[in-house]
């Protein structure tokens, strides 16, 4: 709803209704995914979400790896579900409990299933699928990161965790990948010069934390998770507004007139960010009280440090008033504030503690003086900006497969079949022809050969009849 309203009031799309209809179809597919009780429904909804995400991306180059990785993930899920189906002999998802009791290859099912989810979420080693999305329009990027395949992956996790948890490797694998994702996301958000890439990396970290929080909570949903999702969405929305009202310049090194031209917008967005961080602190406090995990604060520290550093970097840059970029219109400003205020009020403030508010205060202070902000020299390192080292895994995998194919084709098709088998066959046929020609050249040799053949046939017929 936020995505649709945001698009409706702020007119980001030339064809608003078409985009909103895609969002609505996506919502329907997600509802089917949530309510599905058989594998066919589930897989159908999942694939529909993938197709719709492609429509949302609308940029071929950006969506290429995303689609391919999603396809790869879907195929793994297809395999896993087919394996489950073969054991329980039922398409009913509720029957997976039977697989838990009798099924084999439970480790494979758990690890392959998790791998598929990681690929859909763009986690560590699979991030190339989503980092390419930096060329997509910002609001589309936001909706893809929240509402399409990643959300579908989370729904799948909630549906199948009971089965996957039977593997002893499940927790270990999930922990390792999630922690690495959080760290890699933090690092990426600090080092990348592109604001959209930063958002993607933050989102990576966020989904990893979300997954871990779900695990700590026994994969049982409660309102805190909903608020956490909304809060993260609001933060990305605020970042988007910063980008939108500041020349739509996506590179950090090109953002120049942040405090000058759009004072109202900047003030508004900053206020929102601080408020949302407070709300997020509140939610995390609730989750922390419920689960008593220090792990949560690791993410909070990474997130707050990197976000505040990036905001500080934005504001400390030289301000130049640019022509052609007007201030944020009052109506939009009021509307944005209203939506955010409503979202803020909706929070569950019953458990608010001084620690909750101190989170916001610390964040505001960090925005003013964060030593990490001085790391902006990395934006100038081209090698770093153009290469996500671990994202190269995709290239290595695809290229090595293609190379294997070419080598096989060359060695087996061209060299073995064409040059050896066919050559031998041709030579044999030629030799046989020569042999018959020579036989026929003599007076009786040809006749003798045919008599011999007839004799052999007669003998075989006679022996065959006796055996019968």
């Amino acid at each position: 709803m936020l995505g649709a309203l945001n698009n409706f009031f702020f007119r980001y799309e030339e064809r608003r209704s078409a985009y909103i209809s895609v969002l609505t179809f996506n919502l329907v597919a997600l509802i089917i995914l949530i309510t599905s009780n058989n594998f066919v429904q589930l897989l159908s909804a999942l694939f529909v979400v993938d197709i719709l995400s492609q429509l949302m991306i609308r940029d071929v180059e950006a969506g290429r790896r995303y689609v391919l990785l999603n396809m790869f993930a879907d195929m793994i899920l297809f395999t896993v579900l087919a394996l489950i189906n073969c054991r329980v002999a039922s398409l009913d998802i509720r029957q997976i409990i039977l697989y838990r009791n009798t099924g084999m290859h439970q480790d494979f099912v758990a690890l392959a299933g998790l791998t598929a989810l990681f690929a859909k979420l763009g986690f560590f080693l699979f991030q190339i699928g989503i980092t390419d999305l930096k060329n997509v329009r910002f609001h589309r990027l936001q909706n893809i990161l929240f509402l399409s395949s990643p959300l579908a992956a989370m729904i799948l996790l909630l549906k199948f965790n009971a089965l996957w948890r039977t593997s002893e490797y499940f927790t270990m694998y999930m922990d390792i990948v999630c922690i690495l994702t959080i760290l890699w996301g933090g690092l990426g958000s600090l080092c990348s010069n592109n604001l959209k890439s930063k958002v993607i990396y933050w989102q990576m970290s966020f989904w990893a934390l979300f997954m871990e929080l779900l695990r700590f909570h026994g994969f049982i949903w409660f309102s805190g998770f909903t608020f956490l999702l909304l809060e993260m969405y609001a933060i990305v929305l605020a970042l988007y507004l910063l980008y939108y009202y500041n020349n739509r310049r996506v590179l950090m090194t090109q953002i120049q007139n942040m405090p000058l031209t759009n004072k109202r917008a900047v003030a508004c967005v900053l206020l929102v960010i601080v408020a949302v961080v407070a709300a997020m602190s509140n939610t995390l406090t609730i989750l922390y009280n419920n689960m008593n995990r220090y792990y949560i604060w690791t993410f909070a520290a990474v997130f707050v440090l990197t976000l505040s550093a990036v905001l500080k970097q934005m504001f400390k840059r030289e301000s130049v008033k640019l022509v052609g970029y007007g201030p944020m219109p009052v109506k939009k400003f009021m509307l944005f504030e209203l939506i955010m205020f409503c979202a803020f009020l909706l929070q569950d403030w019953r458990y608010a503690e001084p620690a909750t508010w101190s989170g916001a205060v610390v964040f505001a202070l960090l925005c003013a003086c964060n030593p990490l902000a001085k790391t902006d020299f990395v934006y100038g390192i081209k090698a770093l900006q153009n290469n996500d080292v671990l994202g190269r895994v995709y290239h290595v995998l695809v290229k090595s497969l293609r190379l294997c194919g070419r080598v096989f084709w060359l060695l087996i098709d061209r060299l073995f079949v064409e040059k050896i088998v066919l050559a031998v066959l041709s030579s044999s046929v030629s030799a046989m022809l020569r042999f018959f020609r020579r036989l026929n050249a003599g007076k009786f040799s040809g006749v003798l050969a045919f008599i011999l053949l007839a004799l052999l046939l007669s003998v075989s017929y006679y022996i065959g009849r006796n055996e019968l």
């Binding site: 594998f39 066919v40 897989l43 159908s44 694939f47 529909v48 993938d50 197709i51 071929v60 180059e61 969506g63 290429r64 689609v67 391919l68 396809m71 790869f72 195929m75 793994i76 297809f78 395999t79 579900l81 087919a82 394996l83 189906n85 073969c86 054991r87 084999m104 290859h105 494979f108 497969l401 293609r402 190379l403 294997c404 194919g405 070419r406 096989f408 084709w409 087996i412 098709d413 073995f416 079949v417 064409e418 088998v421 066919l422 017929y461 065959g464 055996e467 019968l468």
Partner: protein, 470 residues
């Protein structure tokens, strides 16, 4: 129930006769061919409506013809739900192939005649229920195919064409040998389902079933025999001939299905694991090659091979209860490969002189591109047709047989689907082309309407594969 069954075999022959006497360099032959195909499709749909789906006995339509007034040479034809569905797929694929011909190609009488004759042979093969008629149609179809491939195939190497013919002819000879042996031990013609029950010496059984397998494998591109079939496929530029070559493995697949209808014969049982191993090896190998190739027709060939092998292994290894899943999947598969062939060739021909990439989501021909994207998505197994969940059932059944078997199959399918999906993203940057002002004519509105009908047919089949008949 049997009243209209003979029509199925007579209509294409009548069509051939009319095409033979049609004017040269005119559209008459095209219209007659199209009419013959459409009318036979109507007959098939009518027959499908007459079948009771709940009836366990699959053999419903029966028709016998005494040849030379000899009981031992009675030709028997039978059609069941499976064969009718596959026939429907074949006819729709042929109609798509014919619709994909250019204006110039449509005026080619010989092509139409040979095409229709080939269809008649396929129809006869799918309805044949005795050894002799099966052999006649099995052998008969390579003549028009060879002529068409030779005349319109644009084959660069004569040796490739020669090998293609020799290889198929060797297959026919193998089946002839098997037929003669069967004739000897049964003292006459026999129905296909009874062949496995004929008593014969162990050595003779090995020869018979070895020949039968060799004959059918000659049609299915199992390694190392795939080479010349792929060589022929990649050179073709007529959509009709291309569709015909894609149909060829179907005849081998169907042969296995009919000959091993009851059970795998004891004579061949020890060799079945070898066929399975070779089948899976070929699937993986061809999928890898498909991933490596840049030519779309080669990729499509790799895709069809992988899926035909999937169906072949399903035929050999899975119980009879899965036969309808194979049929539903096969119908969609035939339609999809015919559509992809036509659209791929059309785009390739249009772009031949202008040095441009054409397929994918971004293309110079947006209408064609949208249709192409849809068929690629169906082909890679998205839930847009009946192929999706029927393949799911088949793969599940393979997992029941063996974990490794299922995993290897899924690996091959994933690779080939990825290869096909790459086609959607083949064009990366349109800027240069826009600057150059490249303009290519898109497909016509009539063709769009036609393909939209195919799209609707496929999409509705996702909910009910027999929606048109019941």
């Amino acid at each position: 129930m049997t009243d209209i069954f003979p029509l199925l075999l007579i209509l294409p022959l009548l069509g051939c006769l009319f095409v033979l006497f049609a004017k040269k360099n005119d559209n008459n032959s095209f219209h007659v061919t199209l009419f013959a195909l459409l009318s036979n499709l109507a007959v098939i749909v009518r027959m499908l409506t007459q079948i009771n789906r709940n009836d366990n006995d699959l053999q419903v339509f029966h028709f016998a013809y005494s040849w030379l007034e000899s009981k031992s040479m009675e030709l028997v034809f039978e059609a069941n739900l499976f064969s009718l569905l596959v026939l429907m797929g074949v006819y729709i694929a042929f109609i798509i192939g014919i619709m994909g011909l250019t204006e110039q190609q449509r005026k080619n009488k010989a092509q139409m005649l040979m095409g229709l004759y080939f269809v008649w042979n396929v129809t006869g093969l799918l309805c044949a229920n005795d050894m002799t008629s099966f052999y006649i149609f099995f052998a008969g179809m390579i003549i028009p195919l060879f002529l068409l491939v030779g005349l319109y195939g644009n084959i660069k190497k004569n040796s490739t064409l020669y090998l293609f013919f020799v290889f198929n002819f060797a297959g026919v000879l193998c089946l002839l040998t098997a037929m003669l042996f069967i004739y000897k031990y049964h003292n006459g013609n026999t129905e296909l389902q009874n062949i496995a029950l004929i008593k014969m010496p162990a050595g003779a059984a090995v020869v018979v079933w070895g020949c039968v397998c060799a004959a059918f494998i000659s049609r299915i591109p199992i390694w190392p025999f795939h080479y010349w079939i792929s060589s022929v496929n990649s050179g073709l530029r007529s959509s009709l001939v291309c569709v015909m070559t894609h149909m060829l493995p179907l005849t081998g697949l169907y042969g296995f299905l009919r000959f091993w209808q009851v059970t795998i014969p004891k004579g061949i049982l020890p060799f079945v694991p070898v066929v399975v191993v070779f089948g899976i090896m070929t699937m993986l190998f061809i999928a890898l090659i498909g991933l490596a190739h840049k030519d779309f027709l080669q990729k499509l060939f790799a895709y069809t091979t992988v899926y035909y092998l999937l169906f072949l292994l399903a035929t050999i290894m899975l119980p009879e209860v899965y036969i309808m899943n194979i049929a539903y999947s096969l119908v969609t598969f035939l339609i999809v490969i015919a559509s992809l062939t036509v659209l791929g060739l059309k785009a390739e021909t249009a772009c031949e002189d202008s040095d441009c990439d054409y397929r994918g989501i971004l293309a110079y021909m947006p209408k064609l591109s949208n249709l192409f994207s849809f068929f690629v998505l169906v082909a890679v197994g998205l839930p847009l047709s009946a192929m999706f969940w029927n393949n799911f059932v088949l793969i599940s059944a393979f997992f029941r047989i063996g974990f490794l078997l299922g995993t290897l199959m899924m690996t091959a399918i994933t690779m080939i689907c990825m290869a096909l999906l790459f086609e959607l993203f083949i064009m990366r940057n349109l800027t240069e082309k826009r600057v150059a002002g490249v303009q290519i004519e898109d497909i016509s509105d009539k063709q769009i309407m036609f393909f939209m009908a195919v799209v609707i047919f496929l999409f509705v089949s996702f909910f009910n594969p027999l929606w048109f008949a019941f």
